[in-house]
Amino acid sequence: MVLVEQSLNGLQFGLLLFLLAAGLTLVFGIMDFVNLAHGSLYMMGAYFAATFTAWTGSFILGVLLALGATLLLGIVLEFVALRHLYGRDHLDQVLATFGLILFFNDAVRLIWGPAGLALPLPAWLTVPVQIIPGVYYPAYRLSIIIVALAVAALLYVVVMRTRIGMLIRAGASNREMIGALGINIKLLFTLVFGLGAALAGLAGLMQAPILTVQIGMGENILILAFVIIVIGGIGSIRGAFLAAIFVGMIDTLGRAFLPDLLRTVLSSAAASTAAPALSSMLIYLLMAIVLVVRPEGLFPAAKR
């Protein structure tokens, strides 16, 4: 029972991580751009959703508006600041987007105040659903899984089966070439960045009702997204997907079951001190192991 529930929790967390990591790896793969402010877009998605839901009184409407707003914010951000950083050192990009994080955190504090917001769910999403006889699971978490899977499938179709996707893949393997072929590469970059922003926003607003909407909420999860990209292989969406599920599962199951597991070997007191530290270390240990075995990640994108 608990195992099924926790596995679903892990899956749900992993899928959220995937939405974040997909945008990050897409932007990195195509534009060779490291965007630390990706976590800020995740945060903005959540704040937008909380605000718009309160304004409109409808969860669905609020979420749709928030998605649009995050997309727009991403495009503006790319247009105003980030496009000047393509082709610069990764260090420059890291520092500039670090500056953006500082900016966004304080901007949010100024506009929404230092206290967190809550994004209340409509009644129809709070009922537990019976998934297999005797096992109930919150409808909202279930809907996160469904939405994220649908978005992942859509992303796959767009990237693998459409003309835009073809250009995106071509851009990832050789930027100059598709520019020379007459493709408006600037527009493509802006589009991809907006898409990545919207994905991050989606992840943020879906996570919002489970946790609170607060400043800095995007930072810890951004680092997890980095871990996923390192494990999955930079620029690989498939790698990001598998690594995200893997990390989500290990993190959730580790936190749920490690204390009990440790208690069977250690004394109860020692276990309860060691377990929290150990379970938060698990994914980093996983990353270390992957690095030792395959430094380029489990599913590296084609070599450039």
Partner: protein, 315 residues
Amino acid sequence: MKLQINTSNVVVALVAAGLVVLPLYSQLTGNIFILTLFTRIIIFALAAASLNLIMGYGGMMSFGHAAYLGIGGYAVGILAFEGIGSGFIQWPVALVASALYALVIGALSLRTRGVYFIMITLAFAQMAYYIASGMSRYGGDDGLTIYKRSNFGGLIDLSNRVQFYYLCLGCLFGGIYLIWRIINSRFGLVVQGIRSNEQRMQAIGYHANRYRLVCFVISGTICGLAGALLANNTDFISPAGMYWTRSGELMVMVVFGGMGSLFGPVIGTIFFLLLEELLSQFTEYWALIMGPLLLLIVLFARGGIMGLLGRFNRG
């Protein structure tokens, strides 16, 4: 190395002299605030200088240097908490712990390059942060108050503001002298060679990663010393002090001052922390200005302050 008289060297000499006479000014004017502020600045300058060793000269963009500040600090804090107050034990433990952490993290992270390296050092530092938060015996998230500063017998009294200031300044100058010796040694030249062309150095027969790793460990150890100083300065150590934004700030200090210039990180740290102090007196939302400013500096002022000063000489 011949000393030249040019704008940047004059500025460096003036800043160094200013740092030396600062306690005198503070005594004369009774301005204690400036002394505590600059003690903090000097400690961070040491950390930034250690980061500059691997970033500027080694080409390793570590986004996890705050971890060493935490490790050095926790070594002092934990030993003090367990009743071992002697600095002769605390400080070597701080250095050795930082060096060991750097050895393990470095050996793993150096299997990768570029962005990967940035992400991985960041992730491992975050792991260290979580471990510190999980140490419930030592305060966990809330941190640990250090009731007694490190005790160095009758040698030096760390509770005396001026003595502590000069200790920090001595550590900073010592650290910079050490880094200067390193980068001009055979070892340092090899490391810089690897930064410019790894393949070629490998082909001449240098084991690139071993040199990198040693450099990485030296940098981490120096930063661990800064951590021990910082813990003594604040009389407090908490996981928040090793949060990843701290690592980012250290990188900013290095880049503000001028990466790969010996004294640049000191200038950059003074600039960054004074600006932060100034802005936060002016508005609570200082990062609202600092963030975009950082973006602008990255976009338009490459080479940092030392780079700008260098331009005067040529132009």
